[in-house]
Symmetry: C2
Subunit: 481 residues, 2 copies
């Protein structure tokens, strides 16, 4: 938890943001639902508690069963939660009062949760705008639907509040929250640096575990153990797979096999709930084959190129295009595609080889604020999302500003089912050399990812040390592991 002043100034800035987007005298209230416990098996047997990210940002309290409200017309702030009784003390131990928790985050007014419910239903009854964010958790979705009388699907829909009486989540609140959370404060950058250092440790543990004959799950357990020992846990479900061509592969039942590649895409969430997210790709036998190295070096170059042009004023859309242009250039040299690279980029040929975007925003969420709507978070008002595979999957396209934190994660994949589909449907418009490409079936995929802060005049890789990334560094590290 940061100093109370951090939360106070964030909420003050939020009130100002909302004032610029709503009408004086009829601004209504903004409500914030913290998370409750999430049942794993039965209710009461819960996953490790994770607070709602926007609740952490504005209200700091990292416990289940809290809510909050800001009256946008009066700037009145209330924190809601229930004090403990003897049964809670027996099972969970003595707890500070809600009032004392309010003090820690600079909120003097506190009340029980029943008062929160009463406040929301009474605002609804009075026809005052009730601004809320689209809820990530199903419990909060159900609760908001019950409190407001809306359908559960409506409370996840984001639209301007004055368009239809506000029977949905608030676009004004989404835009206000995004405007604040997307620019990281110095205290946040320090926490992300720490999360990156923990990610470094996690990935080093993984790399040391990559030895022929080892079950993938053994490596995943060891690296996740590290995140739990020193942080909250993983910032997203670990991807560790020799089928690297599958972008989000969460099965870990294969044995590390010489000659294959293994993609490790994993990150740590610090105890303060900031995320890191790195990807490295290792040769299972400790040495790359010539073909693996050719593709690997291309991806590494694309990563470095993207980083070198990441700076304020540049859009991440253009950084993505530059990176995939480099990849296509290299694939052309290898004889996998033919034709003009600029034309290929424009036609989206890179989507066959890299069906994802170059990166995403990062912060309290590893894909920061993704639940508020990817286009609100990752696109400026004058930008439009491409319909192309790959570029259309770009989560962060914005014109870069100091304080943006983004991932930089180019990759190359050989996905037989996708290649066969493009071939069958002629999607490549003749640019692809399928005869050559078939030789890469079974290759898998390569992705290399760092976390990057946009600075006043350029960019800085986050974390104290960069994970080994050149093919030579990787082989050397593996030889010494």
């Amino acid at each position: 938890m940061f100093a109370a002043s951090v939360y106070v100034s964030r909420r003050r800035a939020l009130v100002e943001q909302m004032a610029s987007r709503t009408k004086e005298g009829a601004r209504g209230i903004a409500i914030f639902l913290g998370n409750v416990e999430a049942p794993m098996a039965y209710r009461g047997n819960d996953y490790k508690f994770r607070q709602d990210s926007s609740y952490i940002y504005f209200w700091g309290i990292d416990e289940p069963g809290f809510a909050a409200m800001i009256d946008l017309d009066t700037a009145d702030e209330w924190l809601y939660g229930n004090d403990v009784d003897m049964d809670d003390i027996i099972w969970m131990g003595p707890q500070p009062t809600v009032a004392s928790k309010g003090e820690l985050v600079g909120c003097a007014k506190t009340a029980p949760m029943s008062e929160f419910f009463r406040t929301v239903t009474s605002a609804v009854a009075q026809g005052r705008p009730v601004h809320f964010l689209p809820p990530a958790r199903y419990y909060n979705q159900m609760t908001l639907a019950e409190l407001t009388g809306m359908a559960p699907s409506a409370v996840r829909k984001v639209a301007p509040m004055d368009a239809d009486g506000g029977r949905h989540a608030s676009e004004e609140l989404v835009r206000s929250v995004v405007a604040l959370r997307i620019i990281k404060e110095q205290v946040e950058i320090e926490e992300i640096d720490k999360a990156c250092d923990l990610g470094y440790l996690m990935h080093t543990t993984a790399r040391k575990g990559v030895k022929p004959g080892v079950l993938e799950q053994e490596i995943v357990g060891a690296m996740e153990g590290v995140t739990l020992s020193k942080g909250w846990g993983v910032s997203f479900p670990t991807i560790l797979s020799q089928n690297g061509e599958t972008l989000h592969n969460h099965s870990h039942h294969q044995i590390i096999t010489p000659g294959r590649l293994v993609v490790v895409d994993a990150g740590a969430e610090s105890n303060s709930h900031y995320a890191s997210d790195f990807t490295r790709t290792y040769p299972c036998s400790g040495k790359f084959t010539t073909r693996q190295r050719e593709i690997y070096d291309l991806v590494e170059q694309a990563n470095n190129l993207a980083f070198s042009i990441t700076r304020p004023g540049m859009t991440y859309y253009d950084v993505h295009l530059a990176a995939v242009g480099h990849l296509l250039d290299g694939l052309k040299a290898l004889g996998l595609v033919n034709g003009d690279v600029d034309e290929m980029v424009a036609c989206g040929i890179s989507g066959l080889f890299m069906p994802h975007g170059l990166g995403h925003n990062m912060g309290i969420d590893v894909h920061d604020m993704e639940d508020l709507g990817e286009d609100y978070v990752g696109y400026d008002d004058d930008q439009k999302r491409s319909p192309l595979l790959g570029l259309g999957n770009l989560r962060m396209a914005r014109r870069l500003c100091p304080g943006h934190v983004v991932s930089n994660e180019p990759g190359l994949y050989f996905i037989p089912a996708l290649i066969e589909q493009w071939k069958r449907e002629g999607t490549d418009k003749g640019f692809v050399n399928y005869a050559k490409l078939e030789e890469y079936y079974g290759f898998g995929g390569i992705r290399l990812e760092d976390d990057v802060l946009v600075t006043a005049d350029g960019a800085r890789r986050l974390g104290s040390k960069r994970l080994p990334i050149t093919s030579a560094e990787v082989e050397e590290a593996m030889a010494n592991d």
Copy 2:
């Protein structure tokens, strides 16, 4: 996953159970909702997937987005799920068809999820009974409410289906499922034995980590890493605390301090989703003080006593009473209570020192089937739950049968806030020696737990080896760690 025949015979037995509880020709349908992914932060950033326990038991499929239905009038069975498209292949890899998954669990008829929704709404429209279990997950609660037109709170309520048109969860289905799941099959016992062996490894890792100066979280991370390396993960949130007097303490921010005790209550869930659950209590400095040993030995004796009388025909209610009787006997010898032990047991004086029950059922859930209703699961029809603290918290009271798997977890705790309350309110009726008891403020708590199978003529501790448990064994193990 077990052989298809296991699931086929479980479902056949369920149909028979339901036939004995419903009217021929108007039995209706029984529906089963598997789990979807559970969002951790934003939707799409999910906790590790955990299937619904009853879904695992009857339908075996360990993936999100499945449902199933049995027509109780015709014994027709349907498995529902959606086949993958190209987008799924890119992100999650190629997947077997739903039809082929049906074959693995002996269900020949499969259809997309849309057909499941249609089937349920049409049964509701026709007025056929729709039997479902109270859902653990909020998503399933919301889905059932939408499908049936009930309030979200109604679908968690369990009652007989013919009482009020069945606008709630089905008591008949709950009783049928409990009747089957509570008696473990041989294939299940083998899996629980494996989960216990993994629990042994987890606890051994913990014990080796208990050294003065170590952060509790470091130990928790190491032991949870073991469960992730070799199993699904933890079977419940790990309790590792020097404030052992708090029964479910999940904060791990203290440093291991010489002179204190640390309670480690933790279990592993195997990859096949069976649970273990053990508790050991360690002296942080490696040696018990005299006072600690006196209390420790008492708890160990109570554990052994309980195990020695655990056998078919005995109720676990009586086993609980015998165990707490022994504890009170010992506390009397130490001068902490005075009076007749039988009278103290009857008055519930033990609740002050052990405010929880002796144990619970175990299986696919660590508190097996707790979400179906503790009284349905843990109490026979002729048993009533006590209103007393401790005995009233007993989750498993039933007359024991071969195939029951239960935890055996006596404990002694010194909870200052609770002691002060009893003293203030005279709850102890004069049995407690408060002057002496105050000397134990700051002592913490001790709990010792094994997992036990009721056999044909007695009981067997599950797992290949028992964790060191006598005070001498514990000190010796710690000296060698």
